[in-house]
Amino acid sequence: MNLSLKIWRQASPDAPGGFKTYEARNVSPEASFLEMLDELNERLNSEGEEPIAFDHDCREGICGMCGVMINGNPHGPQDGTATCQLHMRKFSDGDSITIEPWRATALPVIRDLVVDRTAFDRIIEAGGYISVNTGAAPDANIIAIPKEAAEASMDAASCIGCAACVAACPNSAANLFAAAKISHLSLLPQGQPERWSRVVAMVETMEEYFGSCTNHGECETACPKNISIDFIAMMNRDFIKAQFKNFVRIGQ
């Protein structure tokens, strides 16, 4: 099939960007979206034009590197998949497709479709880990964890940090990302010792870069892992509890 691609080109973070239209000929419906861009880049290379820069790594939806706005849909029109898992059979011959990078103050464009997601790293650095001394490796299943908690924690842990939630949010909020990264630890026994300092530190760091949640729910539908906004509510609950818990803790 033949497609008309309207793609954002920007040479460097400070350079002014703009759209450029490319004709993609004989695209296989079996190709993934990124393979279609690969083919276009091959052609641009042979024609002596700078290829289109886009982030990608595992190409099986688990690394979180890829992600572009496709016709106004983060990760394209398919629900619950990353850009790399989107196939060209979802489009029809003659379609024109607009491909844009994520847009937010905290996600500046580095080049073409690649954005800088360092702000996400800053949030993780603030507390998205467990640093208590756990001693030698315990025997398997020695810590009893309720099945519901384990399941919910796994749901939150499926976040791949692609930033589609920020891209989809009319407020450029990263609440779904932060909530997932807070909740997958706070639901498990191992996450308890640092639970109340973690939520405050991560939320404060998140707010240095991102907007606030107005409960549209767009992030949930954009998320390639379908992470629920219930985790945002859980974070809101933990955040106010932490104010009291930390007050008592500091007094001890």
Binding site: G72, T105, D116, F210, S212, T214, E218, I240
Partner: protein
């Protein structure tokens, strides 16, 4: 990785650092918006129930309008234990504070959100899948409600916007004001905006205060719809009844 400098969406200093910075954080502000929202929703119910006394006509014992007696009861809340009107004054101060906190938080959050969003805009039309008309127009519907409240207070509490205003004669004041078609239309339009505001607000507040449960989440939408419908139908009935001459 490039080290691109970013504008901070908000900083914590001075009074913003109080109480561990909770009330300057976006989540804290959303808590404030949700809690004041609950207060304002409860007030709406009380206000509507009181106003529906306009349909009760005249009290057979005293010969006064039921709604005039209701307003007298509001002024004499607390009986002889407190100075006359003092409980009502406390209610008014509390209500004003809730409004100021609700609007102040909204303004602060809006400014942060605009800063976080920056100048970049998507070229393709965004396909909103979850956000609805009500959730995306909260600022607009909220502004309409605020302008309405200011007019409403000037009209029926202070009497500036009502040439036939007589202090204490609630029934006559309402009839005099709402017999003007343009005023009745404004009241009804503002209440439609209010219903949209509640449609999102009464759903969203549970999210902001972290009261969610996958098992009962679907009930929150029903709650918001029925709350908005109850307030809308109740509030519309009064200007309609007066405009059509059913109550005079």
């Amino acid at each position: 990785m490039t080290t691109t400098k970013r504008a901070h969406v908000h900083d914590r200093y001075g009074w913003r650092a109080w109480l561990g910075g909770f009330f300057s954080s976006s989540i804290g502000l959303k808590w404030l918006m949700a809690l004041t929202g609950i207060g304002l929703l409860l007030y709406l119910v009380a206000h509507l129930i009181g106003n529906l006394k306009i349909f009760f006509g005249v009290d057979p014992v005293t010969g006064a309008y039921e709604i005039d007696l209701y307003s007298e009861a509001l002024r004499t809340l607390g009986g002889h234990l407190v100075p006359k009107g003092s409980v009502l004054l406390l209610f008014r101060i509390g209500l004003s504070l809730m409004f100021i906190i609700h609007i102040g938080s909204a303004v602060a959050l809006t400014r942060r959100n605009l800063a976080a969003r920056g100048k970049g805009r998507y070229d393709a039309t965004r396909h909103y899948a979850a956000a609805n008309y009500a959730s995306r127009t909260m600022r607009m519907s909220g502004t309409i409600v605020l302008l309405f409240v200011l007019f409403h207070v000037a009209d029926l509490t202070l009497g500036y916007a009502n040439p036939d205003f007589v202090y204490g004669a609630v029934h006559d004041n309402m009839v005099a004001s709402l017999s003007r078609p343009i005023v009745a239309l404004f009241y009804m339009a503002a209440n439609v905006a209010l219903a949209f505001h509640i449609y999102h607000g009464a759903w969203s507040l549970f999210q902001s205060i972290g009261t969610v449960n996958p098992k009962y989440n679907s009930l929150r939408r029903y709650f918001a719809v029925s709350f908005a419908a109850f307030i809308l139908l109740g509030n519309l009935s009064i200007p309609l009844a007066i405009w059509t001459g059913w109550v005079s």
